[in-house]
């Protein structure tokens, strides 16, 4: 396996290179920034590039390598497994994500699995990625899905014949809040009266 290491921190760069070489992994390039990474990858032809995304241009480096060197799998080396960082790396084209909290042993496993085309990551990262896919999935047809959970609640109460004041009391919110919800519901559904909105949503459910 041929690996490139991209990090602005010398102790990580040289230390990881030493450690991986002792594990029989061929470290073909080390680089401290995006330009050097692109150059090193073009010359060294690694299977995998391990990119420290804590560097100021870390995410940009992931994106540049993923788009310009599609045959190279990019592993993002992050500080911690925060949702924002993991998603940013996935969107930039990273094939895998590891944090500095992990061991050299697990990094070695991630490198091998990534070369085989598998995603080797923590259960936490899996959860983050699945949540993100669900957020981005096209929503099923039907008007009610365009309403927020609270708006659907309000429509259901309108359908049950409650007045705005009664809805406010039931949901323990201000009357003005309910009026805002109703206004938004009418706008989203393109109807003029609250009873029309309730009928429309009830119709969709049948």
């Amino acid at each position: 396996m041929r690996v490139a290491i991209v990090t602005h921190i010398r102790l990580y760069g040289e230390g990881l290179a030493d450690a991986l070489r002792r594990r029989g992994i061929d470290v073909v390039a080390t680089a401290a920034d995006k330009e050097a990474a692109l150059d090193g990858v073009a010359r060294g032809r690694p299977d995998v590039a391990l990119v420290d995304v804590a560097a100021p241009d870390g995410i940009a480096t992931v994106h540049a390598l993923a788009s310009e060197e599609p045959s190279v799998k990019v592993i993002a080396l992050g500080v911690t497994e925060t949702e924002r960082d993991v998603i940013a790396c996935a969107e930039a084209g990273a094939a895998s994500y590891v944090s500095r909290d992990g061991s050299l042993e697990s990094l070695g496993q991630t490198l091998r699995r990534t070369v085989d085309g598998e995603l080797h990551c923590s259960p936490r990262i899996t959860a983050v990625l699945l949540r993100r896919v669900a957020e981005l999935a096209p929503q099923p047809a039907g008007v009610s899905v365009r309403l927020t959970a609270r708006e659907r609640e309000v429509v259901a109460l309108i359908h049950n014949g409650l007045s705005n004041r009664e809805i406010a009391a039931q949901l323990c919110v201000e009357l003005s809040t309910v009026k805002n919800h109703v206004h938004n519901i009418l706008e989203k559904l393109g109807v003029g009266r609250r009873t029309q909105a309730a009928a429309l949503v009830a119709e969709q459910r049948r």
């Binding site: 602005h8 921190i9 010398r10 102790l11 990580y12 040289e14 230390g15 990881l16 030493d18 450690a19 002792r22 080396l77 944090s99 500095r100 909290d101 992990g102 061991s103 050299l104 042993e105 990094l107």
Partner: protein
């Protein structure tokens, strides 16, 4: 007259580092050096006192950042006046210090040797 060269005693190092890649990298590197013995590892300098009593360490190598990482040291030096501290963080506050971004594994080893000789 025959002189027997006494074996040179190894520099006894305690590592302060969070679990993770950096700790693994530093540990592996120190294990390659014949004149350095890694005699203890803790994740927080608050746990050093107990380790130092039993290990007779010459040098503490601290890779943990932040104020808390350093606050424990004045008290430790009072109890262990010969102890040397090497940090790879920017907040060494007067101790032997090299910023993490610039230190190489080799220079880290050399810094430990220099610190032990002081």
């Amino acid at each position: 007259m025959i002189e027997h060269a006494l074996p040179k005693p190894a520099i006894r190092v305690v590592l302060v580092a969070l679990a993770g890649l950096l700790r693994d990298i530093v540990r592996q590197r120190l294990e390659l050096e014949p004149d350095i013995a890694l005699v203890g590892e803790v994740r927080d300098s608050r746990f050093l006192q107990g380790v130092l009593v039993n290990t007779w360490a010459d040098v503490v190598l601290c890779t943990v950042t932040g104020r808390n990482a350093i606050d424990a040291y004045p008290a430790l030096f009072a109890d262990h006046p010969k102890l040397k501290l090497v940090t790879v963080t920017d907040d060494g506050r007067g101790y032997l210090c090299e910023p993490l971004g610039d230190v190489s594994p080799q220079s880290l080893v050399e810094t430990i040797r220099r610190a032990a000789m002081r």
